[in-house]
Point group: C2
Chain length 310, copies 2
């Protein structure tokens, strides 16, 4: 008799994919699914237990619950068309807190150019199951499976903020900037839509499971390898500072922690001009090769990049 507690959660999600039917035009295995009639859709659960660090407000928790879903749409390049919020909240919660959660969801949906279209509320331990809906209009969805050797590897913005924030909290260091990146992640909606419109992107995913895991996933899904330059990876000053103050290596902060909401993508180097023309900010961090896995180049040494801790 095997209990759920004995198996890796990501393995379970992999195994459950056997249930997913070719009803969807896209998925399983991508950030979101696309149904036969073209609706892009994704669902993600966040819980008080696991996604509610000390100091976070209920409004921020609501924002976070919506943002993780919208980020999955962004990774495909979808434009949001609606959000559903299914809440299971404790009877001992203040009513005001429940409103604050809904308000945070609402603000994030509005930021993403859409709104709450429906939901459900039940008693429970503090869970928000969000569902984000979107459309590709006439763009092609960005998948995880299209990278080819010779493509550039890039991210849309600085990495390491959430990891730095958690490390700072662990060490009792105050860092408002770091905390904001953890508590109110910004889904890269406009960037995703603009990137998919260029036609230059060969693969894309969000960084919600961390850069290390994302690089491994793209390599596996595309059947490629990558060389990543540590020095190329963009990061805020406070990431370096918190690394120095705490002794946690910058590399760990950049690769090992989830909760990032920049996009990771690969693109045909001959078509980079189209991405510049689209005015999407991005930073090249490496190149796709045929080695089969991601490797890091740092201080003249080469090492394998592992999955991060979630």
């Amino acid at each position: 008799m095997t209990l759920l507690g004995d198996v890796d959660e990501r393995q379970l999600i992999e195994d459950f994919r056997s249930f997913i039917k070719p009803e969807g035009r896209v998925g399983p295995g991508d950030d979101a699914a696309i149904t036969l009639d073209g609706t892009v859709v994704t669902t993600d659960i966040v819980t008080f237990d696991r996604h509610f660090p000390a100091g976070m407000t209920y409004e921020q928790f609501g924002w976070y619950a919506a943002a993780v879903n919208f980020s999955d749409l962004a990774a495909m390049g979808a434009r949001p068309t609606g959000f559903l919020a299914a809440l299971a909240l404790p009877s001992t919660l203040e009513v005001q807190a429940a409103y604050d959660i809904m308000s945070g969801i609402d603000q994030c949906a509005e930021f993403c150019g859409t709104g709450i279209v429906g939901g459900d509320t039940k008693r429970g331990p503090g869970i928000v199951a969000g569902t984000a809906l979107g459309t590709m209009d006439d763009r092609k969805p960005m998948l995880r499976s299209g990278a080819v050797p010779g493509d550039i590897v890039a991210v849309t913005g600085p990495i390491g903020g959430p990891a730095a924030a958690l490390t700072a909290i662990d060490h009792g260091i105050e860092s408002e900037e770091a905390r904001d990146s953890l508590y109110m992640p910004i889904p890269k909606m406009e960037e995703g839509v603009a990137l998919s419109a260029t036609g230059a992107v060969s693969s894309c995913m969000d960084l919600s499971d961390g850069l290390g895991t994302a690089l491994n996933t793209l390599c596996k899904s595309s059947g490629v390898g990558m060389d990543i330059e540590l020095e190329f990876i963009p990061r805020e000053d406070y990431v370096e500072e918190i690394s120095e103050e705490t002794g946690v290596p910058v590399r760990d902060l950049l690769f090992d922690c989830g909760g990032e909401y920049e996009l990771l993508f690969t693109a045909d180097r001959g078509m980079l001009r189209k991405i510049y023309d689209a005015e999407v900010p991005f930073h090249i961090i490496g190149m796709v090769d045929d080695s089969g896995f991601p490797e890091l180049l740092a201080d003249g040494k080469r090492s394998r990049i592992g999955n991060g801790r979630y």
Copy 2:
């Protein structure tokens, strides 16, 4: 300081509707929402705590979690295009049980002509947040707000099974038929699609909150009243039998309990031929009037129909 435990759950859902934006073409207040680009979508949470009566299997629980969502699509007349399953399950649960839940969801989705397109799995207390997607094709959605005086009031099939099952369980009576209606409710997908295609239906909703509550909701949403004939309401023999054996009045079994998955609808009496032609089974149980609330005619007496206990 007001706690969630102090407020009625349905009141909270009502209050949260203030967050729902005119992003949706339909809703809030209907069984499902319709986004601006025409996707029909609904989300419902079921929990081990509340929706897992003694003797139910994990597979049946999965079926049930999907069925409550598909039933909301059926009430609008939507054709299902996909299902998302977000699971929060205890670490102490057997892995096989988790597969059984997914398998039950999968079977229900297949029964409804679609499949699982995506999902999420986290640790939690035993919660399935399902999302069902659908399309109206070129049919008009059936809403709760279109009933007018003179319309007939009808249901698609027998009522009272789940209430009879719960009553039988409470009294230690074995009744397999009753139990099946409780554990494996059949969403009325084909009936919903066919009814919406007739153009004769003026309002519709499902009976998941029970007949009493549904009649009150249709009256309120449409601004009408109704006269319902107790003897007209179709019921299986075992409902009468369990009523006799336990002393619980038939009226209570028919009106007070949720978990029903027949459809309740009103229709223009001049267009009934279209519903007969569509070969949807239905039973007229009363008439719409302008009294403002639903009343029951039984044994020559008239009485107000209240909301059921959920």
